[in-house]
Structures are given as structure tokens and as C-alpha cells.
Amino acid sequence: MSRGRRRQAVPLDHDASGRYLPLLVAIMVYLAALALAGAMVANKLAARWDRGLAGALTVQLPPAAAGSEDSADPVLQGVADLLTETEGVVSVEVMHTGAIAALLEPWLGDTALIGDLPLPRLIAVTVDPQAPPDLTALRRAVLAIAPGSLVDDHQRWLSHLLDLARAVEIMAAVVVALVVLAAAIMVAFVTRMGLAAHDQAIELLHLIGAQDSYVARQFQNHSLSLGLRGGLIGLLCALPTLYLARYLLERVQSDLLPDLSLRPYEWSLLVLLPVASALVTMVTARITVLRTLARLP
């Protein structure tokens, strides 16, 4: 009572749960941290794609006759003039055959050979996102000048990519939810084992006047400590993993791949995981003890 640290009435510190629960929680938090980071990256990636393609159009014209120069192509020039004069268009960039060949080089090889292929002619158009041109009218006007042309606002492609990103986000959220559920089930099981192992001490506490909440407090404090310890271990393991993933992605240097750098508030979400794990274990232990004791006489 007065000497040193006061021991708990229920000796949970000596239980096997003290050794295994932090490890299990650490694994759960590790998985949750990766899933959460994945969700945040997918969200950022979707936003980047959305932002990058918003206000962009690509006009694709059928291939010109072999040997003809872009600058001398009246159809290409006519479409470019039309686009420039259209209200809502900010800039027009005619992509010359060389630039198109350079884009295709990673897939098709030497640019000299690409030049022999019937490549479509491309015009990159930037439009005002606040006041975009009437796309239907624009398509009609372009087709009138260059039959067989295509005015692509990338919405179809973009919507598929956004769907994919959202699906990744949802899957990550489901993974986090399942991890929390699994942790809660595990803590409930361990708590029940603790109740069974210490039934005599608990009965004694009741007989000398302890409320259920007093007994529950013993378990919830113990679980809080184990949950926090496990959460910190899990987070400390997850951080190097995220750093490694970021390093590997940066090495690829591709605009299509996600950027794994997280903003401060996203880091704070990850740092809160151990706190969340401690709260989940604490609340689960408390509810389990109170529900179990309520069934006793």
C-alpha cells in the first residue's frame, strides 16, 4: 500500500498475454500502417491524375500522306487555327512527328524506323477549366475540317484510373477495419483467458465489495499498456518499410507511379496508430470484462 509501486489486485503482469499481445498488436499496427499509407498514396495519386488532366484535350488527326511535312499540312494547320480561335482554349501545341516518335521510342525503338509508320498527328490543347469550350460543338467543327479526327478530353481513361485509385483506397480502408476487428477479437479472447486464470482473485475482490468497474479497470489498464507497447513496435517496424518503398519508387522515376512522400498531417495519422491500438485494446478489454462479469451471480 505504501511501499514502492502499488501492485494491482489482479496479477495480470505475470500472464502469458503480457508477452504475446504486444507482438500481435505490433503485427496488426504494422499492417494497418502500410494499408493506411497505401490509402493515402492512392488518394494523392488520384488527385494528381485528376489535376494533371483537368483542362487538357488531345486532338488526334488521321496520319498524313507519306513524306508530307506537318508545317505544310493545311488540314493540321486549319484545325490548329480553329482551336486557337475557340473560346475557352488557353493554348494549342501542334506535336510534330519527331516529338511523337520520341514519345513512342521506349516501346517501338529507333525513331528512324518510327518515321516510316503511319503515325497520327496530335495537337495538345489546354483549356480554361473554369470556362471550358463546348466539347460537342468543338468535335463537330474539327470533324468538318479533318474527317476521322478524335477530340479526347481523357475523361474515360481518367475515370477508370480514378475508379482504380478509389478501389485501392476502399480496399485499404477495409484492411484497416479488418485489422481493428481482428485486434478486438484477439484482445477479447486474451481478456477472457485472463478472467478465467484469475477467477479466484476476481471472486475475492467481489466478495470484499469491488464493483465490476474496479475489476474492469485492472484489465483495461493492463491492455492499454500492452496495446500501446505493441502499437509503437508495429509503427517503428512500418516506418523503415515505408521509407524503403519510397526509395524504390523514386529510383524508377516514373510520373505514373505514386509518390510516397506523406504530408505532415498524414504522418500524424500514422503516428496516431499506436494510440488508436491502445484505445482499441483498452475499450475491448473493458467491454469484455463488464459483459463477462454481468453474467456472474
Binding site: 511501499r3 501492485r7 489486485a9 496479477p11 466478495l207 470484499i208 465489495g209 464493483q211 465490476d212 451471480p297
Partner: protein, 252 residues
């Protein structure tokens, strides 16, 4: 204080352990429950300290029917009851001092002055040198004394003791029953279950005899039997001046 009306008790689908039990203990009274092993004394006490509910009949403690009590109110009622269990029920990971202080911790009494009460009580029961000992390192008699100290530390209104002197020599047994008398003098109702007839005869209190799960006789204290009390007092006085002085302090 304690009222049983036609109470019966059976465990599960087994036979009735207790039958047609009707009794009434007034506040501030002192009673012995006497009977052979297996007569039903412990089961009767279990119902008194609310570890067991009757199969039929009515049990009332402190004027309240225990059948309708919520868990919270039951816990609060238990705090008014001190129990000396036959098997001591000490927590092995806590020291003697911590075991004795447990009822105070549970009731939220964090007054550090109570540490002194705990120490005085342990000194009184002869465990001055074992305050920080863990129960497994104590003898049976020492454990029993820790259990007794724990039962009385919170000055309960009702003290129930199940064979509280079973592991003690006569000298310590009388000494502890004298402690119970002192508590009784300041208003605690005391009920002691024992099979030790010789010890019961030394004291001047009503005796309820139980056999085969039924109350057979209730021997009230007859007038003019003051010799018994004098005998107990003499015996207690014979234990030495220190006992009288310590008991007097405790009683005050």
C-alpha cells in the same frame, strides 16, 4: 441485521444443502454457528456474505431483501461485511500489508493514515515481522491472521468468520476471538461458524446449532451465566498486559 425466512439452498440439481432455515440476528449481536463438518455452516455463511443466493426463501441483510439488489448495490452492501474465509483467500502476489489494505483500496479509501491502521492491526495479530511477506512464505496460522486482519480493517458492520481459529493454537484463537468481542462492543454484528465446541463454551454468546442442513437448536444466553464472560475476560487478561492495552486502543 441478518434475517433468513424459510431459506433453502441447493447447488444445481443436487440435493438441498440447507432446508427451512429461519433465523434472525440483531444488530450488534454475537453468534456462534456450530455444527459438524458438512452440516451446512459454510453454505449458510456464503448466503450471508452474498456469494450464494438461496434456492428459495428470503434473505435480508441490513433490512434489505438481497434478491432485488442490483450488482452495484450488492457490492456496496458487501463492503459493510467483513469475511474470514475458511481457506483464507489471500492474494499470493500481494504482501500481508497489501492484503490487509485491500478492502480499503477497493472502497477508495486512499487516506495514507490508514497505512498506520494496517500496521497496527498486523502488529496486533502478531505479524509485526511479516508485514511485507508474501502469503506463500507464511505458515497456515499466519495466513489466517492476515485473513482476519483483512476482514476487520474496514470496521465492518457485520463480521462473518468461517472456522477462523482452525489453524491457530488455543492462545491465539482466544486472542482473536477477543478481538471480535472488541469489535462487537463497538457495534459490529459477529457471526462465527466453528466446530470447536470447547472454544465456544469459553464465551458467553448465543449458539445456533446446525445439522444436516437444518437448524436444530438456538441456545440463547441465560441470565446468570456471567461466569462464562468472566472466564473469557480472565483468559484474555491472562494473555498479558500488552494484549489488553492494544485491544483497548483498537476498541477505542
Amino acid at each position: 441485521m441478518v434475517r433468513f425466512e424459510d431459506v433453502a439452498l441447493r447447488y444445481g440439481n443436487g440435493p438441498e444443502i440447507l432446508k427451512h432455515i429461519s433465523l434472525h440476528f440483531d444488530p450488534g449481536s454475537y453468534h456462534f454457528l456450530v455444527g459438524a463438518s458438512g452440516a451446512g455452516k459454510s453454505s449458510l455463511l456464503r448466503m450471508m456474505y452474498l456469494a450464494q443466493r438461496p434456492s428459495s426463501g428470503k434473505v435480508a441483510l441490513f433490512g434489505k431483501d438481497v434478491a432485488g439488489l442490483s450488482r452495484r448495490k450488492t457490492a456496496l452492501l458487501r463492503r459493510k461485511i467483513g469475511v474470514v474465509f475458511q481457506d483464507f483467500r489471500l492474494l499470493d502476489h500481494l504482501t500481508a500489508r497489501e492484503n490487509v489494505a485491500l478492502p480499503l483500496r477497493i472502497s477508495g479509501d486512499t487516506d495514507s493514515r490508514r497505512d498506520k491502521d494496517v500496521e497496527e492491526l498486523l502488529i496486533w495479530v502478531g505479524l509485526a515481522d511479516h508485514m511485507d511477506a508474501l502469503p506463500p512464505t507464511l505458515s497456515g496460522g499466519q495466513q489466517q491472521r492476515v485473513a482476519i486482519a483483512r476482514a476487520v480493517i474496514a470496521r465492518p458492520s457485520l463480521l462473518l468468520a468461517d472456522e477462523p481459529t482452525g489453524n491457530l493454537d488455543d492462545r491465539m484463537a482466544v486472542r482473536l476471538l477477543y478481538l471480535f468481542e472488541e469489535l462487537n462492543k463497538i457495534g459490529t454484528t459477529v457471526v462465527i461458524a466453528t466446530h470447536n465446541e470447547a472454544l465456544v463454551e469459553r464465551f458467553h454468546h448465543p449458539v445456533t446449532r446446525i445439522s444436516d442442513g437444518q437448524i436444530w437448536t438456538v441456545e440463547t444466553v441465560a441470565q446468570g451465566e456471567g461466569g462464562n464472560r468472566a472466564g473469557a475476560a480472565d483468559l484474555a487478561a491472562g494473555l498479558g498486559a500488552d494484549l489488553g492495552a492494544t485491544a483497548g486502543r483498537d476498541g477505542s
